[in-house]
Every structure is written in structure tokens, then in C-alpha cells.
Symmetry: C2
Subunit: 253 residues, 2 copies
């Protein structure tokens, strides 16, 4: 059974992470990166910083928020992997996404007053939490921040395209691995060697495939020399061919 602890509504401010402090954003933060790049001045960054709360560590199975929890904040993942998912009336789980360091969760709550999905830690997770009412007010005064929020939202609309097409199992799997590699590389992790922090069942659920199909495709990819996989340890051996397989799916990005 999964851990029932819900971490988001009950922040423990005494537990702070080590690479961000009162005056420095963590180096991987989705907000500071984007804001800096867009020329937000130091004062603005400072104001943004006032809103942040460090949350964690959460452990595998801990929930960040659940369906129906009041929508109060969005959060950037600092470390670990967060899975967002919903349970349909038939009891089947639908995985909406995986969120790696530097990425933002909770955006889809903006349309309502409660979260529309569950978010659970897959391993040890650290978060930066931003109160949405406060960041919203601040966005009214800082055009750069408003623009950034618009962009984060708009970007998520496009990301869904990976799942929207009627791709084959091979194309879906290749695209999933390439995207994961790119997203991790963008935050300074290795593009060729990383952990599949989620279960095969989760990958299958995300890609709308059967778990058996995920197994078979991974095995065939390995036999074809595209990659080496041992349990959840993955090494991509041929980014070129894997990218070529994924190309029809990812041509927009």
C-alpha cells in the first residue's frame, strides 16, 4: 500500500534543502532560470524569492497533493521524480506525467479551486512551493513573471501532443526515452545513463500501452543495440537511431 502522508498542505518549514537558502535560488529552479534569462532584475527576483517555501524530503509513496485538495500553490521539483495521475471511475489509473528536477507541478489546478489530479513522489523528492495567490498578485506587477507563467501554461498544452497521436508502441517508447533524456540533460544530468524511476506499469499507463508491450519493446530495443537496460538502470547506446524512431512523434519539439 502506498504511504498516505500528504505533504503539500502541511509544510514543515524546518526541513530545508541544502543548495538553496534565504538568498539564493537552487541552481536548477525553473523560475529563477527563466526569469533571469528574461532579464528580470535582482529586486524582482528577490520578491519572487520571498514567496518560496522549501518542502521535503518526501519519500517514495508520499503524496504532494491529491484530487480535491484546495488549490493553493504550484511547486518546482528540486530533486527526485513526481508522478501525477488520476483514478477513473472504473478504478483504472491514468498517469498524466512525470516531473523531474526543475519542472513545475500543479499548473493544471489554476482552472479550479482544487487540484484535478494526484501527485506522488516516486523516490526521494525535494520541492520549492509557491503560493499561487501571492505569485498571482506579484505577476500583476511584474510583466516578466506574468509572461513566464503564461509560457509555462502554454508549454504544457503542447507537451500533451506526445500522447495525442496514433503512434506505434516503438515510436511512443522511443519518444518517451528521448524526452526523458533531454529533460534530464537540460538540468545537468547525464543524457545517456539514467534511472527509470518509475515502474514499467507507470510507463505503460503513461504511454497508453500494456505493461507487457513496454517489456517487449525495451527487450527488442536492447537486442537491436539501441540501449542497455538492467532493471531500472538505463543506458542509451545509440541516441541517433533512437532519435530517428522518435522523430515522427517529436518533430515539433
Amino acid at each position: 500500500m502506498v504511504n498516505d502522508k500528504v505533504a503539500f498542505p502541511r509544510v514543515d518549514p524546518s526541513i530545508l534543502a541544502d543548495d538553496g537558502d534565504e538568498f539564493h535560488f537552487c541552481s536548477t529552479c525553473a523560475f529563477s532560470q527563466a526569469c533571469m534569462a528574461q532579464g528580470m532584475d535582482k529586486a524582482s527576483l528577490g520578491e519572487l524569492h520571498m514567496l518560496v517555501e522549501h518542502v521535503g524530503p518526501l519519500h517514495a509513496g508520499d503524496h504532494v497533493f491529491r484530487v480535491g485538495d484546495p488549490f493553493e500553490a504550484i511547486a518546482a521539483v528540486r530533486a527526485g521524480t513526481v508522478k501525477t495521475y488520476i483514478i477513473d471511475p472504473g478504478g483504472r489509473e491514468h498517469v498524466l506525467g512525470f516531473h523531474f528536477p526543475g519542472e513545475v507541478i500543479g499548473l493544471d489546478g489554476i482552472d479550479g479551486d482544487t487540484y484535478p489530479c494526484n501527485a506522488v513522489a516516486l523516490d526521494t523528492v525535494m520541492l520549492c512551493r509557491f503560493s499561487f495567490p501571492k505569485i498571482s498578485v506579484l505577476a500583476g506587477r511584474l510583466p516578466g513573471l506574468q509572461q513566464h507563467l503564461f509560457r509555462l501554461l502554454s508549454r504544457d498544452i503542447g507537451r500533451a501532443a506526445l500522447l495525442a497521436g496514433d503512434w506505434t508502441a516503438d515510436e511512443r517508447m522511443a519518444a518517451f526515452l528521448v524526452m526523458m533524456s533531454r529533460r534530464l540533460a537540460a538540468r545537468g544530468f547525464s543524457a545517456d545513463r539514467f534511472q527509470l524511476t518509475m515502474a514499467r506499469t507507470d510507463i505503460a499507463n503513461y504511454l497508453r500501452l500494456a505493461p507487457e508491450t513496454v517489456s517487449r519493446v525495451l527487450k527488442r530495443f536492447q537486442s537491436e543495440g539501441l540501449l542497455h537496460v538492467d532493471r531500472r538502470e538505463l543506458e542509451i547506446l545509440d541516441q541517433g537511431r533512437l532519435g530517428a524512431l522518435a522523430a515522427p512523434v517529436l518533430w515539433k519539439q
Copy 2:
């Protein structure tokens, strides 16, 4: 061959529609409805109104904007149907959505400085055009408007879910018809009788099915008494059963 006229960048302000004027929003406008409902005051509405340009009429095949056009504005559909689509490197068309009166197009351009898709009129179309730089500045001063823009964006994230699942052809088709019925009904049109303003090929492309499958499913639905279809004229005879078929797809909405 489709008409190559591109209407959006070259507005003809002399052509105005008849149910909205200098001082009144058209009754179906997505903005005025939402803003009123959220308690925006008359003065704010007036400011918003200053930004609007009426565009049209466009005719079937006219483009509202194309991939790569500079992103300058979003628009609300006042009359007719707009199809958004992209062409992949293989030359295949992917239909992203159909947009009926009262709905907004162009939102996915916010993430960049050009439109990421094409938008074409499927029949006679009237639009209300909002300059994005201007509405963006205004949003900084009017929290209600900013909130509304956030919600419009966030809502589109959810809408993609219709296509994301691994539904059967029957479920997809039923969900498509139910959604179309609901959206038209929300703007005052009949929920039971309406025109399929798009070609079978477009529906197939949108639902990621083969055109032949769309044909077969519609025929079977008719033989089962769910609906009556003659060319592009559609009548839903059994909303209950159609809704039941669509339920697995639409349970969130």
C-alpha cells in the same frame, strides 16, 4: 485547392458584424461572458472592448493565420467553425481542434512569437480579434482578466485529454459528438440537431482514426438508433445512450 487568403494579419475594419457594435459585445463572446460572470465592472469591460477588432466574414478555405505568422493576437469565434491543424514533415495533416462560436483561438501562440499551427475557416466565419500585447498589459491592471486568461489556458490543457486516452473508435466518436453538442448548446444552438461543418476526413484526422472507420461507426450508430445522419446534417436521437458510450472518455468534464 484551398483559398490562400490570410485574413488575420490584414484586418479589414470596414467589415463589421451585426450583433456587436462600438458599445456592445456580441452576446456569445467568450470574454464578456466570463468577465461579467466574474464580476468585472463596466469600466473594465469598456477597456477590454477598446481592444477588440471585428474581422470577417471569412469564407470556407480562408486562413485566419498560418504556421510562422507573427503572434500578435488571439481571437474569439463569433460565427462559423474554425479548424486548427498542422502539417507534419511527411505531409500528413493533423487536426488539432475545431472552434465554435464563443471559443478562443490562438492561445497556443503565447509560448512563442509566431503561431504554431494553421487556422482555417470551414464555413462563413466572423471573429473578434484581441491584440495580445494590449490585452496582456491590461491583464496586469485587471486581476479578473488575468485570472480569465489563466483559466482559458489551463482549460485547454485538459481538453487534450479527449485524444490522449486509448479509447475505441466508438468511444472517440461518441465523445466527439457529445462534446460538439454540449459546446453548441452552451452558446444557444440546438443540442440535438446540428451540422457537421467539417469533412469526415477532418473528423478522422482529429480523432486519429481512418476516414473509413468514421464512416462505419456513424453508420452503425444510425442503425442502432443513436442518431440520424444525412451527409453533414446530424440529429442525435438518443443522447442518453450516446452519452453512456462517451462516458469513459468524458468522465472528467
